[in-house]
């Protein structure tokens, strides 16, 4: 691809108190690229993902997504809440625990942000919502409330809700970790079709088979640094770094990777 990267992160640092969670992360994602972040818990992969839409404010470094760029560190002003909101509107995020709004119907969940943030007329937002529900395979659940859905259905609604903002990139934070095993497949298949449609995606996941299949690039993190990165099949099947090998050993055999 000749165009410039969709996501560019450089020199990202973050600590919580005395705990250094990220030190010096550099990352680029091409338009339409799919990057999987893997690593043990506490490695900083979720924090990195949450820095990408500034749910966590980095201490230092810069982040660019599309045309929006933010720098952090000494001498830079904290971005205003309106700038932050505008930035986040362009990045969709899917959470481990879905975080659907329980007081709104499925369709209500999806049209809320387009109507409130983008000022889209209700009829238009609902048409978009129904289209997205069809895309995630739940066109008949529009009037249902989230409490009546299975975990897999909730997560698919959450994906539709994020897509309704027509984001430039989608971030997935362990989107299948809270699901019963038999429900993982339906969510992964929606993610797979998004990747096929050319959505730029960053995925924090423990599903190694899925990462190898869908991701162009796999990044292994440990203790807040990127230990190894490269094409998915290389990193997962022939890890070079001992730490990566040790981590992946837990998965080999378990799901036959």
């Amino acid at each position: 691809m000749t165009s410039e990267p969709k996501i560019e992160v450089s020199g990202l640092h973050k600590s919580f108190g005395s705990l250094n969670v990220l030190h010096g992360i550099d990352l680029t994602v091409e338009p339409g690229g799919v990057v999987a972040l893997i690593g043990p818990s506490g490695s900083g992969k979720s924090t990195l993902l949450r820095c990408l839409n500034l749910l966590v404010t980095p201490d230092q470094g810069s982040i660019r997504i599309g045309r929006n760029r933010f720098s952090f560190g000494p001498g830079t002003a904290q971005p205003s809440k309106y700038k932050l909101a505008g930035f986040r509107a362009n990045t969709g995020m899917v959470f481990q625990h879905f975080n659907l709004f329980p007081h709104l119907s499925v369709l209500g969940n999806i049209v809320e942000a387009p109507m409130i943030v983008r000022k889209m007329p209700r009829a238009e937002a609902e048409a978009l919502g129904l289209e997205l529900l069809t895309k995630v395979g739940l066109p008949d659940k529009a009037q249902e409330f989230p409490g009546r859905l299975s975990g897999g259905q909730k997560q698919r609604v959450a994906i539709a809700r994020a897509l309704a903002m027509q984001p430039e990139v989608m971030l997935f934070d362990e989107a299948t970790s809270a699901l019963d095993p038999e429900l993982v497949g339906e969510v992964l298949s929606v993610m797979r079709s998004l990747a096929r449609d050319g959505m730029t995606m960053v995925i924090v996941t423990h599903e190694m088979a899925f990462a190898r299949e869908v991701a162009d690039k796999v990044i292994f993190m440990r203790d807040g640094v990127i230990v190894e990165e490269g094409p998915a099949n290389l990193v997962i099947d022939e890890p070079q770094n001992p730490a990566t090998r040790a981590f992946l050993a837990h998965f080999h055999g378990k799901d036959g990777v």
């Binding site: 309106y82 986040r88 989230p146």
Partner: protein, 222 residues
């Protein structure tokens, strides 16, 4: 054996009615003013700024940890001496009961808001909503449902608390009852009738509160 005689109370029906009217009117006023005070203090306790949180907590603790009767007497007798402003019994009663109730409402409101899972705000933020939009559209609609039963309970307590204003000559139900008791020399019947009057007003409300608690305790998981 005491011979009960409730019939004579009919002669005092207008005084009773007046007392009930004052009690209900007073309750409505202190509930509304109390909720306003509680809303302000409750939101202040959630402020980013430590000074604002401190002021709100100081108010809440001061009024929660002193008896209402002491507050009432202090505001009626002591405050005018300090401030030089003469307060009528009604004004002193309104101020004391509203501030007292406000301290409890503040805790209910603050608790209701923080009880909403942080993932709800994060989802709103991730969708590009501003903090105000999140509060209005996501947090408050869920929090208000949880607050409703304890707010109703607190308001019931407030109605009973209004009986204290009789000591500063506000002509509420209890005050009128005392007049009737002195006048008729039949305190047993009078105070029993007063108790029944409170019961008749409050029982439907507690029933409603219990119904509400049951209805809203069925939580929908996010």
């Amino acid at each position: 054996m005491y011979a009960w005689d409730f019939q004579f109370l009919w002669n005092y029906r207008y005084l009773f009615a007046e007392g009930i009217g004052v009690t209900i009117g007073f309750t409505i006023a202190v509930v509304i003013l109390g909720i306003i005070a509680g809303m302000v203090a409750g939101l202040m306790m959630l402020s980013r700024f430590a000074v604002i949180r401190l002021i709100a907590s100081a108010y809440v603790e001061l009024f929660r940890c002193t008896p209402l009767l002491v507050q009432l007497i202090w505001i009626y007798y002591a405050l005018p001496i300090l401030s030089g402003i003469e307060l009528s019994g009604v004004s002193a009663g309104l101020i004391a009961l509203s501030l007292y109730g406000g301290a409890f409402y503040a805790e209910i409101i603050r608790g209701g808001i923080v009880s909403i899972d942080v993932g709800q705000s994060e989802a709103g933020m991730a969708l590009g909503m501003t903090p105000l939009q999140i509060m209005k559209r996501i947090i408050l609609p869920q929090a208000l449902k949880r607050m409703a039963p304890p707010m109703l309970n607190q308001s019931i307590i407030q109605l009973k608390n209004t009986s204290l204003v009789s000591i500063i000559a506000v002509p509420d139900l209890l005050y009128q009852g005392q007049i009737i008791a002195h006048d008729s020399y039949k305190p047993l019947e009078v105070y029993s009738a007063i108790a029944l009057a409170y019961l008749a007003i409050l029982f439907p409300l507690t029933t409603l509160a219990r119904y509400g608690e049951k209805k809203f305790s069925v939580r929908i998981e996010p």
